[in-house]
Symmetry: C2
Amino acid sequence: MTRWKMTISYDGTDFVGYQIQPNGRTVQEEIENVLSRMHSCTPIRVVASGRTDAGVHASGQVIHFDTTLVLPAERWIRALNSQLPTDIRVLEAETVHDTFHARFDTTGKRYRYKWDIAKIQQPFHRNYAVHGIGTPSIELMKEGASSLIGTHDFSSFCAANTSVKDKVRTIESITFVLVNEELHMVIQGDGFLYNMVRIIAGLLWEVGTGRRAVDEVKEILHAKDRKKSAKTAPAHGLYLEKVFYE
Amino acid sequence: MTRWKMTISYDGTDFVGYQIQPNGRTVQEEIENVLSRMHSCTPIRVVASGRTDAGVHASGQVIHFDTTLVLPAERWIRALNSQLPTDIRVLEAETVHDTFHARFDTTGKRYRYKWDIAKIQQPFHRNYAVHGIGTPSIELMKEGASSLIGTHDFSSFCAANTSVKDKVRTIESITFVLVNEELHMVIQGDGFLYNMVRIIAGLLWEVGTGRRAVDEVKEILHAKDRKKSAKTAPAHGLYLEKVFYE
């Protein structure tokens, strides 16, 4: 039995999310179906670093699974990519110790949130960046973001319907990059609560476009109350970009 | 009656082409349907600078139509974009002289052909750039392209099933640009034959990846024979980028 760690990419547009659920197409199910076919219909369980919601993309999600099939990494990548639907790609594959766990061993994650700031959005980008109405001040967004860096209770930035008790997380960095007519927020931390990146994106966009004062970010953080915060920004601007391990 | 000239953008993925045809969804039909609705069901005929094939994109197609509706340009753009499907956007609108003709008055066009040269293509790009297998030499592609610049009979670069008699066209420039992990060929000329850009793209890719010698480009051009040339490159790498008028 060998444990494989793989880095995968998927276009979240046509999925109801990463994780298998009773209704709708999921990334996990598509991968498990292909693996099962490769193992004479034996079910293979795939474990990811975490789930992603409907419409959310991943350019660097990490999964692991166990197999008795012996193939070099390049062959694994080719075999999977030739059978997977075109909206999922395996980018990298390596064998790991049989105690490696894609979810429990993560030490951090990096997400990217993309706004298209063109006056009219080219249709090619419609599923891959949120069309931001208004001209944001990146300086204001940076200022607002600075209050969130560090270790805090992020209750104000966590979807209400979550069972997670401990809402303390550490954000290591939030940076903003202009790429042609897109504004990207790149956020890295030790872990993120449910919808945390999208609520932060929603709030910082409001700050950048002048709908909220910069000082409100700190107030909202201290309030520890989801209701005080901004609306969750749309799913299709979000990318899980990198998962870190020791 | 006012004649409007509009610049539009569309994602060719889910269209059978620009021009109305008996079976399948077309860009022209979608626009005419919206215009007809705006004119109490009076049919409005839309004329484009030229057709594009199934899967081919446009970031700067030009159309014209006549209307009795009086609206400022910004209102026209908003009204159309709120009713058009999300894979078509109106980018610009201006009134023109009633003798302006989107097709007959063109003095030139610019196309862009995109290859994704990443080892494994991220799924987000799968409909928007052709995954080029192999590492192309841009120098060789430039050398090959140089033989095509100027006024020539491009019979070797024209789909066989065309009724056009005069196959002489002028290519003003062919440039190559590296954008992250994409290689773009930008080609500008006074007009292009059916499939001409895609056949040129197919040939120059073969030259760049060493499957054909640079000298063959000249030989193929002089042969004036479609069969001597390369395979037509896939549609989804091609963008109609700009249409020129006097």
